[in-house]
Symmetry: C2
Subunit: 187 residues, 2 copies
Amino acid sequence: MASFIRQIPEGDNRERAVCADCGYVAYENPKVVVGSVIVADGQILMCRRAIEPRKGFWTLPAGYMELGETLEEGAAREAFEEAEAVITIDGILGVFSIARIGQVQVIFRARFTESGPPAFAAGPESLDVRLFAPDDIPWDEIAFPSVHWALKAWQAAGTGSIGRPAGNPPDDRRGVHRMPSESPFKQ
Amino acid sequence: MASFIRQIPEGDNRERAVCADCGYVAYENPKVVVGSVIVADGQILMCRRAIEPRKGFWTLPAGYMELGETLEEGAAREAFEEAEAVITIDGILGVFSIARIGQVQVIFRARFTESGPPAFAAGPESLDVRLFAPDDIPWDEIAFPSVHWALKAWQAAGTGSIGRPAGNPPDDRRGVHRMPSESPFKQ
């Protein structure tokens, strides 16, 4: 079994986990989460989480980007895995840094690719998937601060073309606040 | 020493590198590169690479985002490491996927924080650092396609407020082309 020690590899300037036996450097970098606000007739698709953390709370279809895919492909894959939704990406709504947990989140606005009644269903990581009108969004049961930020960015962007993406809000510039009690974002 | 095997962990849906001894799952995900087009009096700062790949070619100050920092903090750190430039971020110019090498690149527009003559110098990974007027940009000696894309996004955005970020160009939607001979981006 590998025994990792912390040391600065040659040509680097910070400590990494290095295997004491073979010298393998296990670089750890932030991970990218890709997701989307999927809009149909002014309503948006949300998923009720079937897994921890924040099981039972509402989120957007989103998850870790995988090797070999683009940001847009990852967001579309997550929409299918979590909500069985086949989507087309419109543009970037928000780009967020969650420094506390080493995440970058890229959230797109999207729509259902097929015309007609929206087709979706709960995937294995969702208890429920529903379309919400803007006035019915369950603000008190949102899973993560960044879901708030993305929904606010969607509301701010309106239905037209998407401009400058939202970043972290000024009162959580580095993504260090948790949900729900510490969050300054509850309505 | 760890002997990794490829298998699908419980609750996952794709093969990962799993340690045959202890079950540790080595998730491999795309890495984030952060960088900036640093503007001073209409000129932009570029670095001539002192290291492979593409040693001797020109690039923007950019590099891998580290744990514990935001996108903007990472871009500012890279500007200091590679060009000894202290910068202030204006906004996002481009968000690119380079699926071929598992990268996401977030490129900002920035300026020197201090007023007065721009202060910069070559860091250890740069042979040279220079300000280029738009007409003097060394288009034939650019290190990577995404540097082209970022420079084009900077030219398109102009000097005002930044709107929708650029994505990959339509003829390289997934970031699969290399520099220089295969590149469709040479001028």
